[in-house]
């Protein structure tokens, strides 16, 4: 294992992936409790729907996100919000990243 790999071990592996980092950082800008529609999140992040769903599922399984589906059929709408756990995880990740960069 390299030195760099050991150092990055301190970073939450669920967030330390470019696409997921962008998802979490985007949702963290919204006030606590606000949710964002899947469509707008996709437009902002620029991922394909399939890719975005995969990443959202991983974050939701970890309890970092809450997704809610409203309506049926073509009128259905999925919204995504960062949970308290997700917000804390991003704070910890940011602090760990700062420590890591300060030590370089």
């Amino acid at each position: 294992m390299t030195g760099a790999a050991t150092a990055t071990d301190a970073l939450d592996p669920l967030i330390h992936v470019p696409a997921r980092l962008r998802i979490v950082a985007t949702l963290a800008v919204l006030p606590d409790g606000d949710a964002l529609s899947f469509t707008r999140l996709q437009n902002m992040i620029g991922l394909t729907p399939g890719n975005l769903i995969t990443h959202l599922r991983k974050l939701e399984e970890a309890g970092y996100l809450k997704t809610e589906k409203t309506g049926n059929g073509v009128a259905s709408r999925t919204s995504v919000a960062l949970s308290n756990r997700g917000r804390k995880a991003l704070d910890s990740y940011t602090a760990a990243l700062r420590d890591l960069l300060a030590g370089l």
């Binding site: 760099a4 992936v17 470019p18 696409a19 962008r22 950082a25 963290a28 940011t94 960069l101």
Partner: protein, 219 residues
Amino acid sequence: MQEERQMDETTTADEGGEFDPKAASRLLETTKRRAQRQFEFPSVLLTLIQAGALLAAYGAIWLSVRGQNPYSGPSGAALVELYVFVAVASVAVGLEARRARAGVSRRASRHEWTRAVPFVAAFLSVYVLMGALRFDGFSYAIVYGIMPAAGPLIVVGAATAGYAAAREDWQLLGFAVAAIAVGAGSAFAGPAGVWGITGVSLCAVLVCRAIVQVWQRRA
């Protein structure tokens, strides 16, 4: 942008790939800044549109009342111009709010309309007070000159300051306090001058707000 897209594609295919902490830090900051800009309300452009509309609206009134002795109030054309600029600014606010909040659902959206209550009550209170002052025999110049120009700024500014302090929105709080100061200070200019001073001062305050917004984006 190209770099970010490449990183996404690489890590989606192979999440075990190295993601440099420096690149992560840059990506985190860029993403946050971009998201803030997209959710930002009001935008810099909207603030500048409001500044222009206020200057034009108050300027139209000032041009129609300057030199009046005794003060007889603005002309019908100046009032029409005022309402046109207020309507333009309102439409711009509505469109901007729609852009910024597209796809965003709020936790307390069912009760969001209640936030408007203090502002509407404060605004209407000025007109009730004007009626009371006229009833009590105050001069036309005070009731229809100073009060409608300075009154709304003071009371709506105070309501906005309370709202901003509760939300810890320091930029809005600073703007609201500046509006109160403009309203109170411009009253010294008399029933005609108050319109000109208020228009120019409010325009200057909004331009300063736009500069602060640009500076915050770059910080």
